[in-house]
């Protein structure tokens, strides 16, 4: 889930102008959240989506190409009312409102500047808002990082929040795979290990940070609300010092890669050390959904799926081993 700056960066070598379609309203259910974007390049490249593909995105592409040629912005409503699909019962009957704007990919474009500013604020750990006027001619974007206090008439507001951190302790193959997957899911990935040979940029090229040192010290600054702490070290020397603190911290999730027997032994040690039953009960171990895989990519996928479920507030079946 690249942020908008990363999406624009991926287009920049190939395109000079793009139509940016933003989902600003939906009726009848939408598979993507409001604010989802689809970029249609002048040269034909497509990045992102406003639905899960199919007929909606295809129509948005047509509108985007038309508005690029006309060089103007427009609010467009796309209805899923294709007669054949209706007859076959293969339509969800939804309606999508989109704001489609031609933008230039250079840094001087006001829309690019507004999003760049908002994303930089969010990368610095604060929430930013991009406010887009929907009335009148061309849409105008303004960033209000602090002052914004709720929806207003005639505007569309996008909240650009810092990515939640996922701290992977133990630079194993499972962690390497999970680092890639978690980054793609929009999490900020921090890899921690005490071993320089494992926690390298070569092995974790997509991670936001790769930290080597005393793992419990390195994890401490990330014990914040919203954080996911994932222990992939399979080493009690790292697990116990980190769990002592993480299970008492206001983090969103603490999980440990272990079989059931080993996980129970770690829980017993933590109880012996004085952690309460409630604190020990916060530990998710074995970690991951029960999808049956045994390879590092498969185990990582099961963990990544659990992180998504936790983020979305879903209750799920966990791995049995």
């Amino acid at each position: 889930m690249p942020d908008i700056l990363e999406q624009l960066e991926s287009l920049r070598p190939h395109e000079q102008r793009v139509a940016m379609a933003t989902l600003v309203g939906a009726r009848g259910g939408s598979p993507r959240p409001l604010g989802a974007k689809l970029f249609v390049g002048e040269g034909g490249r497509l990045v992102g989506s406003v639905s899960i593909g199919g007929c909606v995105d295809a129509r948005v592409v047509e509108h985007g190409e038309r508005l690029l040629r006309a060089d103007r912005s427009e609010r467009v409503t796309v209805s899923v009312d294709d007669a054949e699909a209706l007859e076959l019962g293969l339509t969800c009957g939804a309606e999508f409102d989109l704001l489609i704007e031609p933008i230039s990919l250079d840094e001087g474009d006001p829309t690019v500047r507004a999003y760049a500013s908002a994303v930089r604020i969010s990368r610095g750990g604060r929430t930013a808002f991009v406010v887009t006027t929907l009335t009148g001619g061309a849409a105008r974007h303004t960033v209000h990082p602090d002052a914004y206090d709720g929806p207003q008439d005639g505007v569309f507001v996008e909240r650009i929040a810092p990515a939640d951190p996922v701290v992977l302790v133990g630079a194993s193959d499972v962690a390497a795979a999970l680092a890639r997957q978690a980054r793609a899911l929009g999490l900020r990935v921090i890899v921690v290990d005490g071993r320089e040979r494992y926690a390298t940029r070569d092995r974790f090229s997509t991670a936001d940070e790769v930290l080597v040192g005393m793992p419990s010290d390195l994890v401490r600054p990330f014990l914040v609300p919203g954080a996911f702490i994932v222990l992939t070290a399979h080493e009690y020397k790292y697990e116990l010092p980190i769990l002592r603190e993480a299970l008492r911290a206001p983090v969103r999730f603490v999980g440990m890669l272990a079989g059931r027997k080993r996980a129970d032994a770690v829980r017993a040690l933590l109880r012996d050390e004085g952690l309460s039953a409630e604190e020990v009960g916060r530990l998710h171990s074995p970690i991951g959904l029960d999808i049956g895989g045994r390879e590092p990519e498969e185990i990582a996928l099961s963990i990544a799926a659990q992180l998504v479920a936790v983020r979305e507030g879903k209750s799920i079946a966990r791995r049995s081993q």
């Binding site: 005490g194 071993r195 040192g213 005393m214 020397k237 790292y238 010092p241 980190i242 040690l269």
Partner: protein, 125 residues
Amino acid sequence: MTLLYGVTVLEHFRRPRNQRALERPTVSREGYNALCGDRVRIELEVEGATIRAAAFTANACAICTASASLLTERVNGSAIEDAARISDDDVVMGLEADLPAARLPCAILPVRTLRDALAELRPRT
């Protein structure tokens, strides 16, 4: 928890002495075993030629943690000179365990880190 390494190791791993960070250490040194990933930090508060307080932080195995616990217990309140004379063998014997050769680096990591800390201290004394 296995008793493979004896009751002393187990006791000092489960109830480590001086496992904390000092508020104002005179010297702090971190040592690690590159391959296994054991990490230990030794902190000393020194007054004149005496170690007033010794403490450690470890993300380390039971042997290394127990060794750091025993070591800090031993040097607390001792003369710097005496602490500098503690040998690798002293530490290994103090663990009262029949350690395989492969685990000796775990046992002596704390004392080597202590020596590094004392060496840093020397020019100041």
